[in-house]
Symmetry: C2
Subunit: 314 residues, 2 copies
């Protein structure tokens, strides 16, 4: 009389290409959900870390992809995604017919459209599926995924998406739409971090109590998700990277390039990008993106928590 | 055996100078709380409106202030506040010793400090008390007030503050601090509206479903209080002014002037201010501040809801 309840995800093979802070969390989330997960990363130490977890490792992208139903690609940008697909030992020629390539790197929508067409020509499915939420949400399987692609691509990808995401936005059947939504989010996120740092360091320059500024602003119309999330780093004087300056050098660069090619002016984005570039040029590229506050302090003599030494060494 | 419970606010006389959308709501809130409220505005129709409500009207600022314990000044800027205090029929020479002047206009902190000194020299109290929350919160007595001033100023002002505010931040005893907090909030609010309009119109330019963009962004890291509050105007194509473009021409102008005099760079504020100036120059100064979206559409050919006619007439 007992029933055997099959886990519908058992037997599904998922490859994860790119085992950084996001990819590793996504691989672990899928494994926890019962998928058979094989990982690859250009850094063999990252593969070793996943294998030590009980995951399977592969020596090449193609090796990871050859029996996979789902290939999740979590690399830095469109160029790396293209290399994963079509470069040496790329996954495209190794994937089995009908498998789905889930592209999660942030990229120009036109790049996503071009990759999608090349993938479709090989009788593979392509899901344009950028992610949002950071490493902690990746680890807990609670990402936000902004996805577009064919119904077949969604169907095949669903066990993997369900394992990785708390919120899945299905944004239509055209590759590029997911990427476009992600770029709109990145435009806002990047500008809001820069605005938060401009405002908070200006408050410091005026000698205001910064903890009080945080309290008042987070309860006022000037609040943003990024102000609330990033300014505690500035209050603590802790610029250990959770998300680095270079991410927004890249992402606002993509927004600016897209906008230029569409003859769309983005003065706020452009101003913010200049500040990320300056922070990177000043040596903070790998530090937390809230380091823009330190840049404003360097440019104005404002005093921020934890920066006494830097000021004295100016 | 019955007790007579005295309303502690009864008998307290409050003058309100400036009966615009904010001042009228504040006057009504104090009246509702039991204060004896007398109002003045340069527009006699505004006084008539308050009198029709059952309030008392005055013919001059001095006339409103002469028996007042509390004078609340809700005008546009520091120059108007100075005129209310020290201009023809100004309140300063009419106020009784020990009364408090509550200054709620948005202004440069250095102007607030100068006014405070001149008021204190007349044995009057000065409370630097900018407001946030908009007309609806003013009407319901639920404003946020960012206040600084002496303990005596706070004590005397308290019945009025309690009647007008849901949230009262007491930010120290120095005039100028309240104004500085307000300017930090305005910097962020003004930049966030511009960023929201830059992003939303860019989404329109790419042909994205704007209602979907609103749904995704308000649940993502790119969200801001202003994005969430203002973008419904853009989705509805309704630019009837709740808060006008000219408010941010003024407020970001103050931020830029403050920053310039302190040798503090504000590239985000400066970029946003240019867009507000352009919107005003293009004839939208008195329209809702979300009209920056229409400006971006004019500059790019993007199609926004409700703007078909404007596009065709370009």
């Amino acid at each position: 009389m007992s029933e055997i309840v099959e886990n519908p995800r058992r037997g599904i093979v998922a490859a994860v290409i790119g085992l950084g802070s996001m990819g590793l969390g996504m691989a672990r989330s899928m494994k926890r959900a019962g998928l058979d997960v094989v990982g690859f990363d250009v850094a063999s130490a990252a593969v070793d870390r996943f294998v030590a977890d009980g995951g399977r490792g592969a020596a090449t992208p193609a090796g990871a992809a050859e029996n996979a139903d789902v290939v999740v690609c979590v690399v830095v940008n469109g160029a790396q995604t293209e290399a994963v697909l079509f470069g040496a030992d790329g996954v495209a020629s190794a994937m089995k017919t009908g498998a789905v390539f889930i592209s999660s790197a942030t990229m120009d929508p036109s790049v996503a459209r071009a990759l999608s067409q090349r993938v479709a020509a090989l009788d593979l499915h392509y899901l344009d599926a950028p992610i949002s939420g950071g490493a902690s949400k990746a680890a807990s399987g609670e990402l936000t995924i902004m996805a577009s692609g064919s119904a077949r691509a969604f169907d095949t990808a669903r066990p993997a998406l369900d394992a990785m995401a708390a919120k899945l936005y299905e944004l239509g059947d055209a590759a590029g739409t997911g990427a476009a939504f992600k770029m709109i989010n990145q435009l806002l996120a990047g500008v809001h971090i820069a605005a938060a740092c401009e405002a908070m360091t200006f408050a410091a320059k005026q000698g205001l109590d910064l903890a009080r500024v945080y309290e008042v602003i987070t309860a006022s119309a000037g609040n943003s998700w990024m102000f609330e999330n990033r300014m505690p780093h500035v209050l603590a004087g802790d610029y250990a990277p959770l998300s680095a300056i270079e991410i927004f050098v890249k992402d606002l660069g993509i927004v600016q390039d897209m906008a230029r090619s569409e003859r769309y002016p983005v003065p706020l984005t452009a101003a913010a990008l200049q500040m990320y570039l300056a922070a990177s040029g000043a040596g903070m590229g790998r530090d937390d993106d809230s380091s823009l506050a330190r840049l404003y302090a360097q440019l104005s003599g404002a005093e921020l928590p934890g920066l006494i030494g830097e000021r004295q060494s100016r």
